[in-house]
């Protein structure tokens, strides 16, 4: 296995790399198009705004290779790495996402209730909607760690793998064929998160 971690230039990839390494996997940092050649599995840990991320991907000529990889081998998107798989985000209007999922990413609604704070930051329950190899060993409603202000609220039922409630329901994990993505951070979710990363390391398609 040649496990690549995409470093598009504006994301803290270190915690993901540390977590994967602690599970015994060696990692290849993917910074330029030719780095993809050495990989057969990809993790995309994204941070910040979708527009800035897509811009960086284009600037560094990573976009075409990434689209190619998405068609070919196991892919795990984390946080913004989930959001860029959608067509568009309210965060960066006019910027086109990777369109694996045709819906839009939207901002959390604001609530009078002060306990519903934006960003959604902290541990929250993940209710599993359907089984997936990456969720093996995870019980429904276990807590995972989130940090985000935008979310997938709409998606086709058959691509939704888990849902979470933060003032409203959103999709906390989505997937399709060789692609799986979580809004939460498995690399920061203790034992349960490490289990998902381990499953990804073991995932064969």
């Amino acid at each position: 296995m040649k496990l690549g971690v995409i470093d598009y230039g504006a994301s803290n990839i270190f915690s993901v790399v540390r977590a994967l390494n602690s599970l015994g996997a060696s990692t290849i940092i993917v910074k330029k198009p030719e780095d993809f050649k050495n990989t057969d599995k990809l993790v995309f840990p994204g941070q910040g705004s979708m527009g800035a991320c897509l811009k960086k991907l284009s600037e560094n000529n990573l976009k075409d290779s990434l689209i190619d990889a998405l068609n070919n081998y196991p892919f795990l998107g984390i946080c913004l790495g989930l959001q860029i798989l959608f067509s568009e985000s309210e965060e960066s209007k006019g910027e086109k996402g990777l369109n694996i999922f045709s819906e839009k990413i939207k901002k959390f609604s604001e609530f009078e209730d002060k306990s519903i704070k934006i960003p959604h930051m902290g541990w929250n329950q993940v209710e599993i909607s359907q089984n997936h190899f990456l969720l093996e060993g995870i019980k429904t409603n276990e807590d995972f760690y989130f940090v985000h202000s935008f979310a997938s609220k709409e998606a086709n039922q058959n691509v939704i793998y888990s849902k979470t409630f933060h003032g409203e329901i959103f999709n906390s994990a989505v997937g399709k064929d060789n692609i799986f993505a979580t809004q939460f951070h498995p690399e920061k979710s203790g034992k349960s998160g490490l289990k998902i990363l381990k499953n990804f390391i073991d995932w064969k398609i």
Binding site: N12, F14, S15, R18, A19, S22, Q47, G48, K114, S115, I116, K117, P119, H120, M121, G122, W123, N124, Q125, D143, Y145, F146, V147, F165, H166, G167, E187, K188, S189, G190, G193, L194
Partner: protein, 252 residues
């Protein structure tokens, strides 16, 4: 139901060792930080905080080594505070494995630091720590580990740092810190209802009910404590079970 109340054990670290001092005197060695962090993770800590209490320039490389050691073993959010003066300091800590940094005195001396660091790395990783003491009228903010009184009051300073891009506030009551008589729920409750960012209560934990009250009465989103967890006076799990009995959301 939404995010859980977070229980955050804090490690006071000097020269790569956990230390515990009584009012900054009689500092005693209390073990290896990475081992302690690992134990807290297993016990169910929601986050680990490490405070470099020495934070001298000479000791910086030791601090970074300690951060790295902890980050290699513990896969929950990890906040590091002490001696952060610039955006570069923030970057070095994040690269070494911190997920968030906690800025105190430097935020007061240079409020632009909050804005610059949150723009560069995101608000989610910028915690502003505030040390405050009741002056009979409101709560005065202090710098340099409680040594110097400023003209700022806790509420206006909190609102200001929120505006500048801080993602959380770590509020330490100097009146309560070290007393083991409970958190300053007046201070925390007063602030929490006026802030839009999470408030972490610190200072005063002595028994189980104190932590519960910090959430129920003080309206804190998270509770931080050092010695009661370090000396196993109270287990993290017990705290969470008590919170759950009160109908509060916790990660068990």
């Amino acid at each position: 139901m939404s995010v859980t109340i977070r229980i955050i054990p804090c490690l006071d670290v000097r020269n790569g060792r956990v230390v515990k001092g009584i009012n900054f005197e009689d500092i005693v060695d209390a073990g290896d930080p990475a081992e302690a962090a690992k134990r807290y993770d297993i016990e169910g800590a929601d986050e680990i905080c490490m405070l470099d209490i020495d934070a001298s320039y000479e000791a910086r490389s030791t601090t970074l080594e300690t951060v790295e050691k902890i980050a290699n073993q513990v896969f929950i959010p990890f906040t590091v505070g002490g001696g952060i003066k610039s955006v570069q300091d923030v970057e070095v800590l994040l690269r070494s494995g911190a997920d968030k940094v906690s800025i105190n005195t430097s935020a007061i001396l240079n409020p632009n630091l909050i804005e610059e660091a949150s723009k560069e790395f995101g608000s989610q990783c910028i915690v502003v720590a505030i040390d405050a003491k009741f002056n009979g009228n409101n709560w005065s903010v202090y710098t340099h580990g409680g040594k110097n009184k400023t003209d700022l009051d806790a509420l206006s300073w909190s609102k200001k740092v929120e505006q500048l891009g801080a993602g959380e506030i770590l509020m330490t009551s100097m009146d309560k810190d070290g007393t083991k008589s409970g958190f300053d729920n007046n201070l925390n409750g007063f602030l929490a209802e006026k802030l839009n960012i999470p408030l972490i209560a610190s200072g005063g934990a002595g028994e189980l009910n104190h932590l519960v009250d910090a959430v129920k009465i003080g309206k804190a989103d998270a509770v931080l404590a050092a010695s009661i967890f370090h000396y196993k006076e109270i287990s993290i799990r017990k705290v969470k079970e008590a919170l759950k009995r009160e109908g509060l959301e916790v990660r068990l």
